[in-house]
């Protein structure tokens, strides 16, 4: 019969709507302002006594607590009012020791039964909740140079083992070259090296005095090094951001050499930047012997006293990358120190180097890769120039008393803060290649609150206008369209929440725009029904024909918009991506509601019944 759906279709539609309602529901529960305590090391837990002390301290300061949730490595203290958040953080920070990070947070308050179904509210983008956004670029040239340095060290050692004398090493771009006294030496060296280092293309070159062997990295290896550098930096940045204790941070690779970091809720940009962008690393090196040739040594100043210098070996025993854990401690005199545990490889290397060098000195070198950005005028255009420079300073130079294993400590640091930051950096890993900031956005919390308020307001007003328009124009059918529109909004919000999409201000604009365009399908259908009625088609047939014939138009129109939205998604960043996501989801949900849901309502109410006049 015309205009009747089989029962299963009604049930299916009902099912989709109920699921939509459930997953859209968490967005109605406001977030609680909270203070989050998390262990920096990830293994300590807060005991009841500590929690009780915090509770008392907050009670004394007249800060009402909603609830305290214990978490695997910390606790979440929900507060009754957002005004107390800053004060509460100070009090809580005073109650726990340095192993914990105390951060401001907004905690979801989704009821447990909804949470058990996997329902959670939409994430709010930075423009809606405030916070910082950084874009960092990985310095690929430096990554390659670093790798060549490491290879040069290893090759020098291999040459020494094979008793081949070389004169000079040089690094230029992707090429590492060794100069030898004679062509015979070079042939021998090439034989030794090429067996151990297959990632190079070898070429013999003539030199003024002697013979040069030029080794160029293969393009495949270059690609590999670059990928590794970005991936490694990504991991390191994730660790660092986790140590900051920010709720819902985002660390993401973007394009071949960029990394995006978003820290919602963070207001102290400077501190966040210091930790995220820190490029410090450590090197452990032996002091030079008086008879070591100059080509193998390097003279470095001390970090706290530039006048004092020491001659060190060029070869590095281990770097900060071999550190598996680091914590702050104090020696007998109350001076700060960093206790270090090395990983397996690091321990072995350290043991091998120190065992045969007891009585010799070992230096800990602190390396800070810094970037100076300046703008220069070039052909009448402002161009950014970046100068990378490295600050190296000796933190400590101490005599090796006995063979070291994988546990030891570093002393000679200036202040507890410095010790703390050094420990944090060593713990979270050092960067595989230098990075520098290429973009930054800070959005204050007041702007975020205002944006969300305005956004919701414009959705409400926009919706109201559309609903009124449809009612006036299509009367009873307008009501059906409006019902479908409401369901569309619910489904769209549910889809966004389920996908874990981030809601941004342009995203809200996308929702508003979708609402305006969503009625299009219904308008097409109703206009077609009106037309068929004017052509004196019987009512039920007119309804049927209206839905059937409008379908192609609806489909074609929406597919093309969807295509554009996908393209937008692929080129856009942050907020624009949010717009593309809401636009494409909105197209899908509006097709479902306009075609299936509104049809079901019509079928259910007047379908197949003898209707005399249509209120359209």
């Amino acid at each position: 019969m015309l205009n009747r759906y089989p029962l299963w279709k009604y049930l299916l539609i009902l099912f989709v709507i109920v699921v939509g309602l459930i997953y859209a529901l968490p967005n109605l529960y406001p977030e609680d302002p909270a203070v989050q305590i998390s262990s920096a090391r990830g293994d300590a837990t807060l005991d009841d006594g500590q929690l009780e002390r915090i509770r008392n301290a907050l009670g004394k300061a007249d800060i009402p607590i909603e609830r305290i949730d214990t978490q695997p490595n910390g606790a979440l203290i929900r507060l009754a009012s957002g005004d107390d958040q800053l004060k509460a953080r100070q009090i809580v920070a005073g109650q726990v020791n340095d192993d914990y990070t105390v951060a401001l947070n907004l905690a979801e308050s989704t009821p447990a039964w909804l949470e058990s179904l996997g329902a959670s509210p939409m994430n709010l983008g930075l423009d809606l909740r405030g916070g910082v956004h950084f874009a960092l670029e990985v310095d690929m040239d430096a990554a390659i140079e670093q790798r060549l340095q490491v290879n040069a060290s290893a090759i020098r050692e291999a040459l020494r083992d094979a008793r081949i004398r070389y004169r000079d090493t040089q690094i230029d771009g992707r090429t590492l070259s060794f100069t030898f006294a004679s062509a015979e030496d070079r042939a021998k060296a090439r034989d030794v090296i090429s067996r151990q280092f297959p990632d190079f293309q070898y070429a013999d070159q003539a030199a003024e005095r002697g013979a040069t062997l030029a080794m160029t990295l293969t393009p495949k290896k270059v690609q590999e090094i670059q990928d590794y550098a970005v991936e490694q930096n990504l991991t390191t940045l994730r660790n660092r951001v986790n140590e900051l204790g920010v709720a819902e941070p985002l660390v993401q690779r973007q394009g071949p050499n960029r990394i995006v970091v978003e820290l919602p809720g963070v207001q102290d940009t400077a501190a966040a930047k210091r930790v995220v962008g820190a490029t410090a690393n450590l090197e452990f090196r032996l002091a030079a012997r008086p008879d070591t040739p100059d080509s193998q040594t390097e003279t470095l100043p001390f970090r706290n006293d530039q006048q004092r210098t020491a001659r060190l070996m060029r070869d590095v025993i281990i770097t900060g990358e071999n550190v598996s854990s680091a914590s702050v401690g104090f020696d007998q005199n109350g001076r700060p120190q960093v206790n270090i545990n090395l990983d397996g490889t690091g321990g072995t290397l350290m043991n091998r180097a120190t065992r045969s060098n007891i009585g010799r000195s070992m230096a800990v070198v602190y390396i800070d890769n810094k970037t100076r950005t300046r703008t220069v005028m070039e052909n009448g255009k402002a161009v950014e120039k970046r100068d990378n420079y490295t600050e190296r300073g000796i933190i400590s130079l101490a005599t090796i008393q006995s063979a070291l294993g994988n546990r030891f400590r570093i002393t000679g640091l200036d202040s507890p803060t410095e010790a703390k930051e050094l420990a944090l950096l060593l713990r979270s890993g050092s960067l595989a290649a230098p990075i520098y900031f290429v973009a930054e956005r800070t959005i204050g919390p007041s702007l975020g609150a205002k944006n969300i308020e305005r956004g919701i307001h414009s959705v409400e007003i926009g919706m109201l206008l559309v609903v009124a328009f449809m009612l006036i124009r299509y009367r009873a059918f307008g009501l059906v369209a409006n019902l479908a529109l409401g369901i569309n909004l619910v489904l769209l919000v549910a889809a966004l929440s389920l996908l874990g999409a981030t809601l941004t201000l342009p995203g809200i604009a996308g929702i508003v725009l979708t609402l305006g365009m969503a009625v299009d399908a219904n308008v097409l259908i109703y206009e077609r029904i009106r037309e068929e009625l004017r052509a004196k088609m019987p009512i039920q047939q007119a309804i049927h024909a209206g839905y059937e014939r409008a379908f192609t138009s609806i489909f074609d129109g929406n597919i093309t918009t969807l295509l554009v939205a996908v393209i937008l998604f692929s080129i856009g960043t942050g907020p624009v991506k949010g717009f593309a996501v809401t636009l494409s989801l909105g197209i899908l949900t509006s097709m479902f509601t306009a075609i299936m849901v509104s049809r079901a309502i019509v079928n259910l109410t007047i379908g197949g019944k003898p209707v005399k006049k249509l209120w359209i």
Binding site: T269, S446, E527, V564, I567, S570, P575
Partner: protein
């Protein structure tokens, strides 16, 4: 409101006038784009921007002098939304703490100043985004052209493409003419306009195709007129609701999406006009014939009907 339905408007008869109007708008847009370009926002040019809020409205000239006195060069200061909100643009290279520095300098005068947002975009990032966006727009146009060619016929895709280019140029032209800030959100709006305007065009085309197949006359302007009249009330209703919500966004959505909403309003307006006049009239210009849609019975004409 039902007045349109029974009236037959002779759209195609006025197509020469429409070409003239479109031509004039395009000319103004292109001239403006050539001579004063787009006022590209920070997203595309790179640079530094700091937005602060004063407790009481400050004198802009004084703010500028304070900043220049503190060593910032090439400072541009303007109000943003409210007279108490001040937007400071700096051209100098990035400094980790520029937001805090600017607020500190401004606070020295004793005024109460809050940092609302600070943005920095590297020149290189901006340049890349610029290239990417241009490419994205071209790809979007190419993809929709291909789709229309596949679903309809290449003459339709030509008409649709020209109509889209027409819309995009006019939206860009409005932004260039009034030197409005063209940032990433406006670009998103332009792409949305491509989608929206195409939707409109396709619905008219769909009806034209249906009518060509049904009708007995070969006089294309008559068929087109009929199709446009049949879809007119739908076109106006949809554009009407969309414009209503866009107006809500423009007036209530706040400053950050003001230009976004404006671009869409211009785009939806022009898109509606172009789907009626430009897209359809172009079909006459490219000499669309019944044979283009109903080839000799050998080919499977049914394939077109399937969604």
């Amino acid at each position: 409101m039902n007045a349109f339905i029974n009236r037959r408007l002779d759209f195609m008869g006025k197509r020469r006038l429409a070409f003239f109007v479109s031509g004039a708008m395009l000319l103004v847009s292109i001239v403006s784009l050539l001579f004063q370009q787009l006022n590209l926002g920070l997203d595309f040019t790179g640079g530094t921007l700091v937005e602060v809020r004063y407790a009481a409205a400050p004198a802009l000239e004084a703010v500028r002098q304070t900043l220049e006195g503190a060593g910032f060069t090439n400072v541009s200061v303007q109000t943003f939304g409210a007279p108490t909100d001040v937007l400071v643009r700096l051209q100098q290279a990035f400094d980790p703490n520029v937001g805090a520095q600017v607020t500190d300098v401004l606070r020295q005068g004793g005024a109460s100043v809050d940092l609302i947002r600070a943005e920095f975009v590297g020149a290189q990032v901006g340049g890349q985004l610029r290239d990417q966006s241009g490419l994205g727009m071209l790809v979007a146009l190419g993809v929709v052209m291909l789709y229309v060619a596949l679903r309809f016929q290449y003459k339709f895709s030509l008409g649709a493409l020209l109509a889209l280019i027409h819309d995009v140029i006019i939206v860009l032209g409005v932004f260039s003419l009034f030197q409005l800030d063209f940032d990433l959100t406006v670009l998103a709006a332009v792409l949305a306009v491509i989608g929206y305007s195409l939707n409109d065009t396709i619905i008219v085309y769909d009806r034209i195709r249906e009518n060509i197949r049904k009708s007995r006359t070969d006089h294309m302007p008559t068929i087109f007129n009929e199709a446009i009249n049949q879809t007119l009330s739908r076109t106006l209703a949809t554009s009407g609701t969309t414009l209503l919500v866009l107006l809500a966004l423009l007036l209530l959505g706040g400053d950050m999406i003001h230009n976004f909403a404006l671009a869409l309003i211009v785009g939806v307006g022009v898109g509606t006009y172009s789907s009626v006049y430009v897209a359809s009239a172009l079909l006459i210009a490219v000499k669309l014939q019944r044979e283009d849609l109903i080839p000799a019975k050998k080919e499977n004409a049914e394939a077109d009907e399937l969604p």
